[in-house]
Amino acid sequence: MRTVAVGEHALLVELGSGEETEAFHSELLRRRAAGTLPAVTEIVPAARTVLLDGVAEPARLAALIAGWEVEPSHARVEPAVDIPVRYDGPDLPDVADLWGVTPREVARIHSATAFRVAFCGFAPGFGYLTGLPAAYEVPRRATPRTAVPAGSVAVAGRYTGVYPRASPGGWQLIGTTDAVLWDPAREPAALLAPGTRVRFVPVRVGGR
């Protein structure tokens, strides 16, 4: 673990792996809930880092963090969400080819996976979900689509994501969901936040 100053009011904490990042993020949330974390405005986890922004004394916080014993992330019980999916995405055959299985197997493997939101970004409510084994990593599409429909369930790299609203995008679309990922009028607005556990529940194409 290494901490780097980012400007005057932020710290970037670098971790060794995605798993360590998740554990460190959980530790931050635990300490914030317990009231033992100095005030920070933002805690932004990402692939291998956690950014702490709006920190009054970054050097002091860095010294504090250096002395922490971080518990494994499974020690925390995170909220869980089921997302119904129709595995009918236009890239399902391509993903099946890349995985070396049938499209039906893609749906089975994907829906049997326990996912966790590693971090959010790209758009409000867009989560980067980890959980698929490394063997199922796929590249982004060579040419991004100019319009991906809201509710598209997609894979790219080691991540799965659901598009909260129609937007351009280069991920491989394997399905669609009616779940509302982002609704500013709802509390909480985001269905998925860093740490949320997710399962995709298959629903029959053409039916409910």
Binding site: V4, A5, V6, G7, E8, H9, A10, L12, T41, E42, I43, V44, P45, A46, A47, R48, T49, V50, L51, D53, G54, F119, C120, G121, F122, A123, P124, G125, F126, Y128, R165, P184, A189, A190, A193, P194
Partner: protein
């Protein structure tokens, strides 16, 4: 009947509602947003007796025109511009009373880019996640102004305008941005880092509320490969593959995968928001 609202007569190139922005939602991918020149927006709010959280209008280049449906105290500041009420010249940078039904015309910026218009009681657009700011990256908050749109005003507080005269910083002839190197300065060659710290850049016309883009000597990578996405702060100087530094402004994405060579001091970003395309830019490393 008092109808506390105003109608948009002329929207201008881009006029948005802005307050101090959304905090605490970056982990959900929500940018902070908010007025790009927070000093100017705070000053116009003070001039009309508003609190610091009241929402104002932020114009871009060519101002806007509005018709209040009620008599209201207004102040225009930020980028200097001609201001008229029903065609008659009135003061810029001072509180003024606009009668119900009169047209307040905020002219094109004479210097700088963005003028701010405060109304007594503030612009009372529906808040989203605690802020009325228009976020152009993710489409949160009220839509940019369009001719014919009607926006509500909040109740005028009991306070008299806080002051009559306030000091205004001049729009910069040269944009000097003090930066703290890192977190990813080690991704660039020593020669590039010297260029970055010593050579002149210019504000690119492709700049917007998301970032101030620059033209100048491209920075060369010392490290090949891709940086895994990481959290981004306001003022981050991100270097995309073309090597030209982009300074992240209020509507910046909350995570990004291009290395950040340095971070601009928050105090210097208001000047960045007022720098017209072509303005010389210097990045000054400070520790």
């Amino acid at each position: 009947m008092t109808d506390r609202a105003f109608a948009v007569v002329r929207a201008g190139a881009l006029t948005t509602v802005q307050d101090r922005g959304r905090r605490g939602h970056a982990h959900l991918g929500v940018p902070r947003s908010g007025a790009l020149d927070p000093y100017a927006s705070a000053l116009v709010n003070r001039l009309v007796g508003n609190g610091a959280d009241a929402a104002v209008l932020e114009t871009t280049v060519d101002g806007c025109a509005v018709r209040p449906r009620c008599a209201v105290t207004v102040a225009v500041g930020g980028a200097p511009c001609a201001v008229t009420v029903d065609g008659r010249p009135v003061a810029w940078g001072a509180p003024l009373r606009v009668p119900a039904g009169a047209v307040l015309e905020v002219g094109a910026a004479v210097r700088g880019l963005r003028s701010y218009v405060a109304f007594g009681g503030g612009v009372a657009a529906e808040p989203v996640l605690g802020s009325r700011s228009t976020d152009l990256l993710s489409g949160l908050g009220p839509a940019p102004l369009a001719a014919g749109a009607v926006l509500p005003l909040g109740p005028q507080g009991p306070d008299a305008p806080g002051c009559d005269v306030v000091p205004w910083p001049a729009a910069p002839e040269e944009l000097v941005l003090r930066v703290r190197p890192g977190p990813r300065d080690d991704w660039f060659t020593d020669a590039s880092l010297r260029d970055f710290a010593t050579r002149a850049y210019r504000v690119s016309p492709a700049s917007n509320r998301i970032g101030l883009r620059t033209e100048g000597p491209p920075l060369e990578r010392a490290v090949a490969g891709e940086l895994p996405s990481e959290g981004m702060v306001l003022g981050a100087v991100q270097v995309p593959p073309d090597g030209r530094p982009v300074v992240f402004l209020a509507d910046h994405p909350t995570t990004g995968g291009y290395p950040v060579v340095a971070v601009v001091r928050e105090r210097d970003l208001a000047a960045a928001a007022q720098s017209v395309p072509g303005t010389p830019v210097r990045f000054i490393p400070v520790r």
